[in-house]
């Protein structure tokens, strides 16, 4: 049955505008500001026009606005293709579509574009919260679609939602099957451009003061879930990268010095764990000091850094084995020389300080201990707000201010050891981490960033030395507190002194974080590799992805098609031959300008047709009479419908013109 009524009620107009608005809303956060403002302006315009119809734009104004939207998008992105520009254009067009919704058809278009817009959000954000939000928008859109398609309005607001729930439940098995077995792209779809989600973490060039800035950020760097027993806090050094070279101000790795080689450590790592790394746009991966092997076969460089070929542009999950007891004796030609290089700005008093230690020490190990006790006994202050050392920072820190953060201690210590002739290198990474007892994993945040050193001792190989621990051992055992105090004030540490409210808040935060990580782990993290291993378990690994895709599509599409076919066929009967014949007759007359009205009976139609074309009286009367007899009369047989068909075939109203 055709629905002749194309108009929409005011309520439906409002609902579709709101739903589409909700579908677009998250995009306003990352499209450029002018486009956001444009979107909000048009949305407000729409709501105003719904209340006061005189503000509804006319056709020309709409065309102009559309043009303006395209130009605006182009001016912001300088292109209209690609992820960002494409989404920008899509949102602009979407909001324009809402503005011009008038009839039922427009509403369908608006709802279906909204569905598409919902999908595009996942190109930017795959978090659970976003998924839940988009799911609820999807439910509202579907309920609206159901409500619009009803002949009578629903009795309650709940009714379309109940129906949506039923449809959704019916779709869930298909969605699960598709999710599990439909072939994945090797790269997720959302990796179309440079991910904007990358947070600034550690970089491969360190200037003192840099980490101190980093520790203001509570953003998560990565999470670690231990399979084996977790090491104690003072053992949780998360190795990121090793830095060798300095110019007396910054620390970095000279490109020409990088000679990486794939390492294979023989040792058996006693710590096995999984790391959920956030995108940090760098190639190194964090691992417990020191990593031995990874399941993903990442490279292990000669300075025992886990590395990937490409920068980590989206969150990454990997499994590593590490050992905390490994005696790390890996040394390559030229490595020790590099670990002794000094910048040009080493001052005389630095040499003198080191000379003092050398005179009193019998072995390099004692020099190291003397250096550490120097940091301990001198009035050094561990502070989160160190003064800015502009010129020769190490010298200023050691002899003038004596206030610094881990990076100051680590760099100074490295330089002093190098003066003493002990090969030393700087290690950047994180230290500690907050334990989430709900999910049994550690959260390592940016403010856990840390710098320490490794010294080469003949008898023990590379040995981790953390000069910060000598000054502020609490740093290693407790969390830093986020109140910074005035410049140079000693850092405060977070002991377990949270009140009832505080501990509950933390518990809640942990719960949220846990839910998020499980989502990431099982939903977002379900990768091609996971899928392959699942397939292997079922013995399907001999199939190529293409074969596999075809089989999956077939498995889902064929039953669906059968169901659809059944639904269609049950609703439609094969038309009777006399109806086909009569339809043809009507069409022939319609071509002569006499078309049958939808409700017009055969007699009335024949009368009208004869009135207009008296020359056709005989055939029209004959056909109509026969049709009436076959269709509406008693005891009609097949030969009569055949005769009707024949007569209609012979009926050629175009041959004779009226009046001839």
């Amino acid at each position: 049955m055709q629905i002749a009524d194309h108009s929409l009620t005011a309520r439906q107009h409002l609902l579709v505008s709101l739903c589409a608005g909700f579908a677009i809303a998250p995009h306003t956060l990352h499209v450029p500001l002018p486009i956001s403002l444009f979107l909000i302006f048009l949305f407000v315009w729409r709501l105003t026009a719904l209340r006061y119809p005189q503000f509804q734009p006319g056709r020309w104004l709409l065309v102009l606005t559309t043009l303006g939207g395209v130009i605006l998008t182009f001016s912001q992105y300088h292109t209209l293709i690609g992820r960002d520009a494409g989404v920008g254009l899509l949102t602009v067009m979407m909001i324009l579509k809402i503005l011009e919704v008038r009839r039922r058809q427009d509403l369908y278009v608006a709802v279906f574009i909204s569905y598409f817009v919902i999908i595009t959000h996942f190109l930017f954000d795959q978090s659970m919260v976003m998924a839940l939000y988009l799911f609820s928008v999807m439910v509202c859109l579907t309920a609206l679609l159901i409500e619009i398609n009803r002949i009578k309005p629903s009795a309650t607001t709940l009714e379309p939602f109940v129906r949506t729930a039923i449809i959704t439940l019916q779709a869930i098995p298909i969605a699960i099957v598709l999710f599990v077995i439909f072939p994945r792209l090797s790269q997720p779809l959302w990796n179309l451009g440079i991910g904007s989600s990358g947070t600034t973490g550690l970089s491969d060039r360190m200037t003192p003061g840099q980490i101190a800035e980093l520790i203001e950020s509570p953003e998560v760097a990565f999470r670690v879930s231990f399979v084996t027993e977790a090491p104690a806090a003072e053992q949780r050094y998360w190795r990121g990268l090793v830095i060798w070279d300095t110019d007396g101000h910054s620390w970095f790795n000279r490109k020409d010095q990088v000679r990486e080689r794939h390492m294979q450590l023989k040792a058996h790592g006693e710590h096995s764990y999984e790391v959920f790394l956030e995108a940090h746009q760098q190639r190194w991966l964090y691992a417990l000091d020191v990593p031995v092997s990874s399941k993903q076969r990442f490279r292990l460089s000669q300075d025992l850094i886990l590395q990937r070929r490409e920068p980590v542009r989206q969150s990454l999950t990997y499994q590593v084995r590490s050992t905390t007891e490994q005696q790390n004796k890996v040394v390559m030609p030229g490595m020790l020389q590099r670990a002794l290089e000094l910048p040009d700005n080493v001052t005389q008093r630095q040499f003198e300080l080191v000379e003092g230690w050398r005179a009193n020490a019998k072995s390099p190990r004692e020099i190291v201990e003397l250096a550490l006790s120097h940091f301990n006994k001198q009035p050094f202050v561990y502070t989160l707000t160190p003064p800015r050392y502009l010129d020769n920072p190490i010298d200023q820190f050691l002899f003038n201010a004596q206030e610094g953060f881990c990076e100051h201690y680590a760099t100074s210590f490295t330089q002093l050891m190098r003066i003493a002739g002990i090969p030393t290198r700087l290690v950047l990474g994180y230290q500690g981490g907050e334990y989430n007892e709900l999910g049994d994993y550690f959260i390592i945040r940016q403010y856990d960033a840390h710098a320490w050193t490794e010294v080469w001792l003949e008898e023990s190989g590379w040995l981790r030395v953390d000069p910060t621990a000598a000054v502020a051992p609490e740093r290693i055992r407790f969390q830093l507190r986020n109140d910074f105090g005035t410049e140079g004030s000693p850092a405060m540490f977070q002991l377990d002194e949270l009140g009832l409210v505080g501990s509950n808040l933390r518990r809640f935060a942990h719960m949220l974080d846990n839910a998020n990580i499980q989502w990431r782990r099982w939903i977002i993290g379900y990768s091609r590799e996971h899928q392959f291993s699942l397939m292997r378990n079922f013995g399907f690994d001999t199939l190529t992805p293409l074969q596999w895709s075809l089989i999956t599509i077939g498995l889902i599409a064929v039953p669906l098609l059968l169901v659809a076919l059944r639904l269609v066929l049950s609703g439609r009967k094969q038309p009777l031959p006399e109806i086909i014949a009569y339809d043809r007759f009507c069409k022939k007359l319609a071509r002569q300008g006499i078309s049958r009205k939808t409700y017009e009976g055969p007699m009335d139609y024949a009368k009208r047709a004869i009135g207009e074309r008296p020359d056709l009286t005989a055939p029209i009367s004959r056909i109509t009479a026969l049709y009436i007899k076959v269709r509406y009369g008693p005891n009609a047989d097949k030969s009569q419908s055949k005769r009707l068909l024949q007569q209609v075939r012979q009926f050629r109203p175009g041959r004779q013109k009226p009046g001839t």
Partner: protein, 305 residues
């Protein structure tokens, strides 16, 4: 159609000038064994129509003027104690006639209305434990004033449903009215006209009407109409199955008057305004539309295949 019926329509058309269509519909209603409700303002010929039909078809005729103090016994009759025979004798009321004109039915109280309507439905009267059959054929023509007039008790939907058709006569056209005004007494002209039919022949015709063929295709169309009124929000209440039966019955009678032994969609469409106009109630803004306009609107929305 027998020649008598054509003659009757022609003769009635001469009495009720310019109202050929109304006469034909009334006759359709009679042939379909239904009752007729005429809704119109006073003075357009409601009583004349009833009287004409009764006279031409050779049926006896009674008229009941409905007033607010009319009692059920005034319609169906009353038992009176006969002192000679020492028992109650039932004195038949005016309802015991082949054509009953219930004039201004909506002026009576619901109690009196329902007495009439029960008799219409059952075609019999039960009083004091005894049942009396009403004559055959039995045809009630009720008239009512438009319900917005003062002092009326509008018939409830359930009772309106008892009438096969509801028609209105309307003012005559200008030329017809001139003939009417210029001509002589219509009543006298009627008395002069010979009776064209008797109740025997009428019953035969009624039997023939029942035999007019209704094809499946037509039933489908009828069902489309019913379904449409039930599904669309334009109507407060959809048509009942009884309305569907009434539509087909009336269409048969119309086809019979059109001299056909099968029902065409045109027949159904012709009787539709009169048959469902009083059974359908629109909702919302279409409240004011009635009868013809409503049905035209309805038919436009239901394609005939």
């Amino acid at each position: 159609m027998g020649p008598e019926l054509a003659e009757a329509i022609k003769a009635a058309g001469n009495i009720l000038l310019g109202k050929q269509e109304v006469v034909k519909l009334s006759l359709t209603c009679l042939l379909a064994r239904g009752h007729l409700l005429i809704e119109d303002v006073p003075g357009v010929g409601k009583t004349t129509l009833a009287h004409t039909l009764a006279h031409l078809l050779g049926l006896n005729y009674q008229r009941i003027q409905f007033t607010s103090d009319l009692l059920p016994s005034d319609i169906i009759g009353v038992s009176v104690f006969d002192t000679n025979q020492q028992n109650f004798q039932f004195h038949r009321g005016p309802i015991f006639a082949q054509v009953v004109l219930a004039d201004e039915i909506n002026r009576a109280t619901p109690k009196a209305q329902s007495a009439l309507l029960e008799a219409m439905e059952e075609r019999q009267v039960t009083t004091d434990g005894a049942t009396y059959n009403l004559p055959e054929p039995f045809f009630v023509i009720a008239t009512q004033n438009p319900s917005h007039q003062v002092g009326t008790f509008p018939l409830p939907e359930s009772q309106l449903d008892r009438f096969l058709m509801r028609i209105s006569i309307g003012y005559p056209g200008r030329s017809a009215e001139r003939d009417l005004l210029a001509g002589g007494d219509r009543r006298a002209a009627l008395e002069d006209h010979p009776v064209v039919l008797d109740s025997q022949r009428l019953s035969e015709y009624q039997h023939q009407v029942a035999k007019v063929h209704v094809a499946d295709a037509l039933i489908e169309y009828c069902q489309d109409i019913l379904a449409h009124t039930r599904n669309m929000p334009d109507y407060r209440l959809g048509l009942s199955p009884r309305a569907g039966l009434a539509m087909l019955q009336a269409a048969r009678a119309w086809a019979f008057l059109e001299d056909r032994d099968l029902v065409l969609p045109e027949d159904l469409q012709a009787i539709l305004p009169a048959t469902i106009g009083h059974r359908l109630q629109t909702s919302g803004e279409k409240m004011s539309v009635s009868g013809d306009g409503l049905v035209k609107d309805l038919l436009n929305k239901i394609p005939l295949t």
